[in-house]
């Protein structure tokens, strides 16, 4: 953890040192373009004679220019709160660079990820790519009447477990993971329905892990929305199985709004 955190802090400092100009975004998660378009959420869970529990799912990301065809990003994320057990919480920090290599976009990232108890800590260096355009609906509306936009990503990363792995974690010691992600958005007027599905393949015996998240959001004031979210599957760092359905409020401050 110490090494990973130090590396990320250095990258963050190095990036910020020559940031011109600089933008900040608050969103659901920096993990995908789709997530960056979604609000950070705060859910409160209450029951009769029970304490009210909370869950926060948020990230803050800084972005700046890097040459003519690229930009850098650095940020932190948290999936935490009293409604989640420590082992179910996720913390992360990232420094990454993205380049427009028309016809594809390429992102190279260094990320630190940990669970809430810091029993599992990993550092991952990864690269992912997406076609900027292509078939109908890829990055643009399906048609003038059908506001469906989708985008695929493919990526791979190498990493190291800095601290002990979880019981269901296929990644032990050094690891290689490949993944593919599909994002889709349906956005008529103030409503937005979005889904993100990710499939990981981890090198040890080619174990697969998958996670899907769907959100229906209604923006009732600029940057503030009413959110219904459901998710199912396993995601890093522990890859423990989780399924949930939540209703709450979202806060969204995209870049350069």
């Amino acid at each position: 953890m110490r090494l990973g955190a130090a590396l990320l802090l250095f990258l963050f400092w190095a990036c910020a040192a020559h940031a011109q100009p600089l933008d900040v975004a608050i969103a659901h998660s920096y993990l995908s373009a789709r997530s960056l378009g979604q609000p950070a959420t705060l859910f409160l869970v209450g029951a009769h004679h029970e304490p009210t529990l909370s869950e926060i799912d948020a990230s803050i990301l800084l972005r700046g220019g890097m040459g003519t065809s690229g930009f850098w990003e650095s940020g932190v994320r948290a999936l935490a709160g009293s409604a989640r057990a420590k082992s179910e919480r996720v913390f992360g920090a990232v420094a990454r660079g993205t380049w427009d290599l028309n016809p594809v976009g390429l992102t190279v990232a260094a990320e630190y990820e940990a669970d809430g108890a810091f029993d599992v800590e990993k550092g991952v260096i990864s690269a992912e790519a997406t076609p900027e355009g292509g078939p109908r609906g890829l990055g643009r509306r399906w048609s003038a009447a059908v506001p469906l936009v989708w985008r695929p990503w493919i990526g791979a990363g190498v990493g190291n477990v800095f601290d002990a792995s979880g019981s269901e974690d296929p990644e032990t010691d050094s690891f290689f993971r490949a993944y593919t992600r599909l994002e889709a958005t349906w956005s008529p007027s103030h409503w937005e329905m979005g889904a993100v599905g990710t499939l990981w393949v981890v090198e040890s015996d080619a174990v697969t892990r998958s996670h899907a998240r769907g959100t229906v959001a209604y923006e009732w004031a600029k940057g503030v929305s009413f959110d219904v979210t459901g998710e199912i599957g396993r995601q890093p760092p522990r890859f423990d199985y989780d399924e949930s359905f939540k209703i709450g409020f979202g806060l969204h401050h995209p870049f350069a709004r």
Partner: protein, 115 residues
């Protein structure tokens, strides 16, 4: 020139549209009027997205809301603009500052030099 482009972008939305009679020169020395730049950008956008017609390409149209383009699709503008209008646009500024068609027109126009 890059500094000029950057500062121009920061004030695009408050700035009025340039006078139509003005002529500018791109990085290859070709002379353009504002109307020609607007028409060329509209042609490029319609070629990239067959959902669009030239009349959809209005200055006020937002890429994400009105046209339904995500940030990565917007990046596809860089190559044809460089090829046809001979201006190299910053990927960062395209993603961060170019929110409307008017922003894009102003960015390209401000990148050109007075003829």
């Amino acid at each position: 020139m890059k500094k000029r482009m950057t500062s121009a972008r920061r004030h695009t939305r408050a700035a009025p549209a340039p006078p139509p009679s003005e002529l500018r020169r791109d990085d290859a020395g070709q002379i353009w009027s504002l109307e020609q730049v607007v028409a060329e950008i509209a042609a490029i956008m319609c070629a990239l997205d067959d959902n669009l017609t030239p009349k959809d390409v209005k200055r006020s149209a937002t890429f994400s809301g009105d046209l339904g383009w995500d940030d990565w699709f917007k990046m596809r503008l860089r190559k044809p603009i460089e090829k046809r209008l001979h201006e190299s646009l910053s990927a960062f500024l395209i993603m961060e500052r170019v929110k409307t068609v008017g922003d894009l027109i102003d960015y390209v126009w401000s990148s050109m030099e007075a003829a």
